[in-house]
Structure formats: structure tokens, C-alpha cells
């Protein structure tokens, strides 16, 4: 259930400690949106997708095929016992596979040519197909998805956001508290996100932003410019206010899962402030998200 909005927002706008925001005296800081500028909550369900999803679900496995005009994706997710799950997705002649050990919080990912097992790379058309499949499987599974479907959704979500420069063979280890910081109790409030680069340290004004996290803004990201919400992205502005497209959620856009975490917020901040998802400038933020997305529980 979404938290009440008005009080935390009001506190945040005043820069109160409840939001852990240190008000910046930087003259370039964007004027804060007033409480009356607070956006309305929007549809929390994934965007509708055109295509046919056929799935066979048993107690320990979900498998099937997704077809639309452009692409065909086959998938299997199965429980191997002891909280181990294996996920395989095939798209455009590429096999993506992942094994999750939830008890140990360890996962391995791989991707290769289905024909010969040789290395390959996720490209823009693969990401597009995987995003469509990701939306479709979320819609199909819904909020009450079983664990095999949940792990399929998480793996598909990770692959749908994998940049072209990322190696497909990855090992992920997670540890709550150190590996990820959940933002469940901050949904509906502004949370600070940041990144570092050579010009700016973490939490410097021009590498940080106030983000209203949660299921807001539909599929669009909004930036507070000249006392109004705009769709024009910033590029290293000073503490801009931003929201929309389920900012802070692990996974592309909005969807059925609701893992909101600091690392996913920082990755969203990177790809929505001057960088594309395919760019290798956000690769390390993406890598930091993988354990959150693999293992962190849904907020609701």
C-alpha cells in the first residue's frame, strides 16, 4: 500500500532531516516543486503489450513462448530445490541463462549464441524484444506470481536493461544491508540519488538529484524546470527534482515487481540524466543493481 504523501513531501520540500536532504546553497539549485505540484499517482501495472504469451505452469516450472509481430522469445524457469532456480530465455538466436541460489544469495548469468555456444552481445533490438517480453510476463504473472515466475521476471528484467558493452557472463553475490538498501519506507517521498565521476564526487550538487520515488508519471520521466514539470532531461544540473516512470524501481519502466532500492535509483538517475541505457557510462551503476534485482524482496 502506498504511504500517505502529503506530510513527507512537505517535509522534504523544506529540506527537513526526515528526507536526509541537506539543503544546498548552490545558486543554480532548481527551485523545489511546491506540494501542490505533487504529481498524481499513476497506473502501477506494466504497460500493455501486443503479442501472444503461451505459458505452461506446473508446481516447479513455468515455460512457454512469447510471440509478437517482431520477435519470438522462449523461456523456462524451474525450481531445482534448496531455493535454487534456473532461468533460460532464448531470443534472436541467443541463449540467456541464469542460476539463482536464494539461500546463499549467489547468482550466475551467462549469454551465448544458441547455435554454437560462442560469445555474443545484447544489442538494441534484443533489449527491445526483452523489454516487451518482460512487460508481457509481468502482466501475465501479476502480483501474486509464484517463485519460478518471479525469478523469470527478475532475470528478464536484468537482461532487458543490460547494456551492449556488458559482458554476459557475470557472477552476483548479495548481502542485505551491504549489498542493497531498500527504499520501501520512502515510497511517495523525495529521496536523494547520486553518482560520482571525475569532475564530481558522490553527493556533489551537480552529480546528485532529488527523486520522487514510486509508481508515478506513467512511462515518462519529468524534470522540474522553470517552475514546471518538463520531459527535457538534465545533464549534471545542480540538485534537480525529478520523478516518473517508476523512478527507483529495479527493472525497466513500471511493472508488477516493486523492489525500490538506492542502487536502482542511482542507475535510473544515470540513464535518465544524459546517458542512454546502451552507453557504457552507466555500466557500473547497472552492475551494482544486479544483486538488488536478483535477491531483494518486493516492497509490496
Amino acid at each position: 500500500m502506498r504511504k500517505p504523501l502529503s506530510v513527507p513531501l512537505f517535509l522534504c520540500v523544506l529540506g527537513a532531516s526526515a528526507c536526509a536532504v541537506t539543503p544546498s546553497s548552490d545558486p543554480e539549485e532548481a527551485n523545489a516543486p511546491a506540494p501542490t505540484d505533487f504529481p498524481a499517482a499513476t497506473n502501477t501495472s506494466p504497460a500493455g503489450t501486443a503479442g501472444t504469451l503461451d505459458a505452461t505452469v506446473t508446481r516447479d516450472q513455468i515455460s512457454g513462448k512469447f510471440d509478437n509481430a517482431a520477435d519470438s522469445v522462449t523461456f523456462t524457469s524451474s525450481s531445482k530445490g534448496n531455493d535454487v532456480y534456473e532461468v533460460t530465455v532464448n531470443v534472436h538466436g541467443m541463449t540467456l541463462d541464469a542460476t539463482f541460489s536464494l539461500a546463499d544469495k549467489v547468482a550466475s548469468f551467462d549469454g551465448f549464441s544458441s547455435a554454437n555456444g560462442e560469445d555474443t552481445q545484447i544489442q538494441e533490438e534484443d533489449r527491445a524484444a526483452l523489454k516487451t517480453f518482460y512487460q508481457a510476463i509481468q502482466t501475465k504473472a501479476g502480483k501474486e506470481a509464484g517463485k519460478t515466475a518471479d525469478m523469470l521476471i527478475r532475470a528478464a528484467g536484468i537482461w532487458a536493461e543490460t547494456g551492449s558493452s556488458n559482458q554476459l557472463s557475470q557472477r552476483v553475490m548479495g548481502e542485505e544491508g551491504r549489498g542493497w538498501t531498500l527504499l520501501c519506507d520512502r515510497i511517495g517521498t523525495y529521496v536523494d540519488g547520486t553518482h560520482d565521476d571525475w569532475d564530481y564526487d558522490r553527493w556533489d550538487a551537480k552529480s546528485s538529484y532529488h527523486v520522487l520515488i514510486g509508481d508515478y508519471g506513467g512511462g515518462t520521466t519529468y524534470y522540474w524546470r522553470n517552475n514546471a514539470w518538463s520531459t527535457q532531461a538534465y545533464n549534471h544540473a545542480s540538485w534537480p527534482y525529478e520523478y516518473g516512470n517508476c523512478f527507483g524501481r529495479c527493472g525497466d519502466s513500471c511493472g508488477s515487481g516493486h523492489v525500490y532500492s538506492q542502487d536502482c535509483l542511482d542507475h535510473d538517475g544515470c540513464v535518465r540524466n544524459g546517458h542512454s541505457q546502451a552507453s557504457f557510462w552507466c555500466d557500473d551503476e547497472f552492475t551494482s543493481c544486479m544483486d538488488d534485482f536478483s535477491f531483494a524482496p518486493n516492497c509490496y
Binding site: E86, D97, S113, N116, T120, Q121, D197, W198, W281, D284
Partner: protein, 133 residues
């Protein structure tokens, strides 16, 4: 059973072994073409790394498929400067296993004081060998 990379490769090796003998005779005639392609791909990726190091927009606009203007190139070089990013050597070059005709180079990239490996795609789409991503 899950079709892992190893399983796919082992089944491929079996087929290759069966075909091997008959292909041996034709191999020597194909070798020249087979070596020219990776050489051209490696030359392209080395030119990209050198052009980044030299901060040369004229060279980058030729060797990449996405930098079509001075402004885009300056932005890209600004990004390299902001992240204090520098490429190391190419660690690996392999043909894209999906038969797209592209080559994938694994290069070391130092960024914000941390080193990692990234994939670069090299492809000839009729305008010579270029870095595609």
C-alpha cells in the same frame, strides 16, 4: 535439461569433428579471407582507442558509427574527460557467435579510478569497419 553454453559447444564440436576431414582440403584456400577480417576488425578497434587517446574528432567520426557531428564527438570526449576514462589494450577479439558478421573486442577501460572490461562491436556495414557500440 538446461542447455548450457558447455552443452551447446560440445554438440557443436561433435558436428565439427565429423565435418573436419572433408573440410581440410578447402581450408587453405579460405585461410587468406579468414585472416583478413579479424585483422581489419582489430585495426578498427585500435584506431578507435588511438583516436580517443588523441582526442581526435575527425578520426572518431570516421571510425565510429554513432558520432556524426563535431558536437556529438566533443560531448563524448567530454564524457571521457569527466570520468577520467582511458582504454587499455584489447584483451580478446572474437567473432559474434550469432553469425552477424560482427566482431566483438574485449577492452580494458579505466573509469573513475576503477578498471573493468567492456565489449566493443566492430562491423562492416558497407562504410568500412567501424565501432558500432
Amino acid at each position: 535439461m538446461k542447455k548450457t553454453r558447455l552443452a551447446v559447444q560440445l554438440s557443436g564440436l561433435l558436428v565439427l569433428g565429423l565435418l573436419g576431414a572433408s573440410a581440410t582440403r578447402a581450408e587453405s584456400t579460405r585461410r587468406t579471407d579468414g585472416e583478413a577480417e579479424p585483422r581489419a576488425a582489430l585495426a578498427a578497434v585500435n584506431e578507435y582507442l588511438a583516436a580517443v587517446e588523441a582526442k581526435s574528432c575527425p578520426r572518431l567520426m570516421v571510425i565510429t558509427s554513432w558520432l556524426h557531428s563535431e558536437e556529438a564527438c566533443e560531448n563524448e570526449l567530454g564524457e571521457f574527460a569527466r570520468h577520467h576514462a582511458r582504454f587499455g589494450k584489447v584483451a580478446k577479439l572474437a567473432k559474434d557467435g550469432r553469425g552477424t558478421g560482427a566482431w566483438l573486442a574485449t577492452a580494458r577501460l579505466s573509469k573513475d579510478g576503477r578498471e573493468r572490461e567492456i565489449l566493443l562491436r566492430i562491423e562492416n556495414r558497407g562504410r568500412g569497419w567501424q565501432i558500432q557500440s
